[in-house]
């Protein structure tokens, strides 16, 4: 019977590798986490800074049309959210989720001290540290560490995408794997005979006494890893319960849904959607991006509902900052500050949260930051997962049903 990863981690602890992990907090964490069931988180990063103002549009504020002579979206094209706001016309899927109460929009989210550099701002969001230059780990990685301690899983977190492992995913205990191919893990076996030989090599006891312990450890690790890979492959090839669009973001979310639906065990996923840095000729590019985003999230949510998992899965959609209210001379927008964050899932309290942006009260031409992004992280940690939160800010209230 193969040992679980838990067991070989514990063997590592005995060598004093991470003795500090055996704190009393461990037991406490375990108790809290088990009460939150099998809840999961998918972080969806909109890379490049999404134009929040043309996503959730405050069409009744006349400053909006004035600041955006070519980019302002006519109210008639929008999907109605409330009397004052509408969603971009490409976001039909999101509008449908909003109407069902499965989409929460948090207005005016950002860093308390906004930074207009993509790199610095992204590092702040990832690390949840305002002085991100110091950052070695990310908030999702640290969260995965805590969940990892409290549950039995071979793969606490998973990054799907061709980019390097995001800082957000770096933890202390667990090195999150990156899956470049959204079709799943294609573990290379050259032939059946090769696979058989590989398997039997893991069974055979080795004769060298000196290396016995490390060898036994490696053998167990390899066995567990192959079993994990095979399960993932099996799940990834299962039929979908709904039709997904064919673009990359949809394929990433499709794989996440296959893993969640099949009880794969990974609780934290990270995917990105790139291209939001729309400095010039924004309108067509932004429409295409939102169409992909909306279509992918809509299919994902429908798929989870069909599998009866929609109440256990939360998607957090964020971008490093919003864009300037006033459009630039190239029919695009430059870097801004506050922007909406989306939470998707049947477990969220749908509707609008925070204070809707007021275009007559800008800060340096930007939308104000009213909600510290860390208060959303804190809410996810405390209220969604029921684990400790260490951001030094109060969790945002009422985000979950």
């Amino acid at each position: 019977m193969p040992l679980t990863r838990r067991k070989f981690l514990i063997a590592g602890l005995e060598l004093g590798v991470a003795g500090s992990c055996l704190s009393p907090a461990l037991a406490a964490n375990r108790a809290v986490a088990s009460s939150s069931g099998e809840r999961s988180l998918v972080v969806l990063q909109l890379t490049g800074a999404n134009d929040g103002l043309n996503t959730v549009v405050p069409h009744r504020q006349h400053e909006y049309q004035r600041a955006r002579p070519t980019l302002a979206l006519p109210a008639s094209t929008l999907h109605r959210l409330d009397d004052d706001h509408g969603l971009h016309e490409s976001a039909a899927g999101l509008a449908e989720l909003y109407a069902e109460g499965a989409l929460a929009i948090v207005h005016g989210v950002g860093c308390p001290d906004p930074d207009r550099s993509h790199f610095r701002s992204m590092a702040i969001w990832h690390s949840a540290q305002l002085d991100a230059a110091q950052a070695e780990t990310g908030w999702v990685g640290r969260l995965a560490d805590r969940i990892d301690r409290a549950t039995e899983t071979e793969m606490p977190s998973l990054h799907i995408g061709a980019e390097a492992l995001p800082l957000a995913m770096r933890g202390r205990r667990w090195f999150a794997p990156t899956l470049r191919d959204p079709n799943g893990l294609q573990l290379t076996s050259l032939s059946t005979r090769h696979a058989e030989c590989r398997a039997s090599a893991l069974e055979r006891p080795h004769s060298e006494p000196a290396s016995r312990e490390e060898l036994a450890f490696l053998r167990e690790a390899a066995r567990t890893s192959y079993a994990t890979a095979e399960r993932m492959q099996g799940l990834a090839s299962r039929a979908d319960s709904v039709a997904y669009p064919t673009h990359e973001l949809a394929r990433k979310l499709r794989l996440v849904a296959r893993l969640l639906g099949g009880g794969f065990g990974t609780r934290v996923y990270y995917v990105t959607h790139d291209g939001y840095d729309t400095h010039a000729r924004q309108a067509p590019a932004h429409a295409a991006l939102l169409s992909e985003l909306s279509g992918a999230l809509h299919a994902f949510q429908r798929d989870l509902a069909a599998m009866g998992r929609d109440r256990e899965v939360l998607v957090l959609v964020f971008s490093e900052f919003g864009r300037r209210v006033e459009e630039n001379g190239s029919r695009g927008t430059d870097h801004g500050a506050g922007a909406p964050v989306f939470l998707v899932g049947s477990g969220v309290r749908g509707g609008m949260h925070g204070v809707a942006p007021d275009l007559s009260r800008l800060v340096d031409g930007d939308l104000r930051v009213d909600v510290d992004f860390r208060s959303i992280y804190a809410a996810i940690e405390r209220h969604w997962f029921g684990v400790e939160s260490h951001h030094g800010v109060a969790p945002m209230a009422n985000l979950f049903a």
Binding site: G12, H194, L215, A221
Partner: protein, 406 residues
């Protein structure tokens, strides 16, 4: 006492193929078949002589860095160092460079300047086998280190303890061998040390010239004096030797093992090379329990495979593969470096190892000698390959757990 010294005496007995492979594998990163055979013929002493008198790297490789640094890309720098390691001309020096990179772990993620990262790397290469005191002083003035551990924000009246703490905790003394007061007093001594335009600069106006009490000694210590006082702690030589033994011996050494070596380090004017030679020629080092007793790190694994299978890997690809296995060069996870050992392995990193090893097996199978090589490797690593085709046999061997021990 006799026993304590006994273990550091030169090894006796036959310097056979297995012993030679153990020595060359640990002293360097990878060994080719020819190197192995040459070592067996030459014997232990001559092999060590050759290791400690390594030739310079191919000069074109060393100068090519100027072009690469212009791009500012960290991937280029990673590939360049990987090329030096894969080149195999100075395995002992490159392994020491990697060891010091881990010991004085500095990450590009914060430094964000490939030129500074390269300069620090060159520093490790130049001083890695020399006087540890010089190495430590150079590291303390190294611009990448100063950025990494906040030299610039360590000013009179606003001391930043980052470097002062790590130089004691990780670089020179080890935790428990200094007080919190020593940290804050040393931080004051280092005030004014910073970087200006990629160079070390001392800003006298930022320096706290007041009295400091460091390890019970009171005076108007500056940064250089603080380093001297740190180096004067008897525990310092032990800390350095413990790190060396951990790296080259493969497990945490006992105090009795460390003590005589620490004395030897001091006797040799803190020169690393003679102490390393003592380790690598010792009975302790060649003892059966020291052989293949540790899990190879990604860089070590990749360089070893390419040398053994006589492949010519693309350095950028090799560096990227190491990153997927959890060891991105110039990007250690923290100032503590890589945890190493069992921490190298989880489901994600093992599968990354598997995928790259199968890729290399395919590469190796193109060689006309593949079948013979596979047979030889199979017997070395006690892997049963039965009637597998060369490529399958090679893949089975390279992905076998025993192959990942070193």
């Amino acid at each position: 006492m006799t026993q304590a010294l006994e273990r550091w005496r030169p090894a006796r007995g036959e310097f056979d193929r297995a012993a030679a492979a153990h020595l060359l594998g640990r002293a360097g990163l990878g060994i080719s078949r020819q190197q192995l055979e040459r070592a067996v013929v030459n014997g232990l002493d001559a092999t060590l002589d050759a290791l400690f008198e390594e030739p310079e790297h191919d000069p074109t490789l060393l100068t090519s860095i100027d072009l690469l640094l212009g791009t500012g890309s960290i991937e280029s720098l990673q590939a360049w160092w990987m090329a030096l390691m894969l080149g195999g001309r100075a395995p002992l020096r490159e392994r020491l460079t990697l060891f010091w990179h881990d010991h004085f772990a500095t990450a590009w993620d914060k430094v964000r300047d490939t030129r500074l990262m390269h300069r620090q790397n060159a520093l490790f290469r130049k001083h890695g086998s020399g006087d540890f005191r010089v190495l430590l002083r150079e590291v303390a003035r190294d611009p990448a280190m100063l950025v990494w551990l906040d030299g610039n924000s360590n000013r009179k009246g606003h001391a930043n303890e980052n470097f002062a703490r790590e130089v004691m905790e990780l670089f020179a003394l080890g935790i428990g061998n200094y007080s919190e007061r020593d940290v804050s007093e040393a931080a004051r001594a280092f005030t004014g040390w910073g970087v200006d335009g990629r160079r070390f600069r001392f800003a006298a106006a930022d320096h706290d010239g007041g009295e400091k009490n460091l390890f019970g000694k009171v005076g108007r210590w500056d940064g250089d004096r603080a380093l001297e006082l740190i180096l004067a702690q008897p525990v310092c030589a032990r800390h350095v030797c413990r790190s060396l033994l951990q790296e080259y011996g493969g497990s945490a050494p006992t105090a009795a093992e460390v003590e005589p070596l620490a004395a030897e380090l001091v006797r040799n004017d803190w020169n690393i090379a003679p102490v390393l030679r003592t380790i690598l020629s010792s009975r302790w080092f060649f003892a059966p329990e020291r052989r293949a007793c540790r899990i190879a790190g990604p860089v070590e694994l990749v360089v070893r495979v390419q040398a053994r299978l006589e492949l010519s890997l693309a350095p950028a690809r090799a560096a990227a593969a190491c990153e997927s296995m959890g060891q991105a060069l110039f990007r250690p996870p923290s100032v503590k470096g890589w945890d190493g050992g069992r921490a190298w392995i989880n489901a994600g990193t093992w599968l990354a190892r598997h995928e790259y090893m199968v890729e290399l097996a395919r590469e190796a199978a193109r060689d006309e000698r593949a079948e013979a090589m596979a047979r030889e490797l199979a017997s070395e690593h006690a892997v049963e390959c039965g009637s597998l085709a060369p490529v399958e046999a090679m893949a089975t061997i390279l992905t076998s757990p025993q192959f990942h021990l070193a």
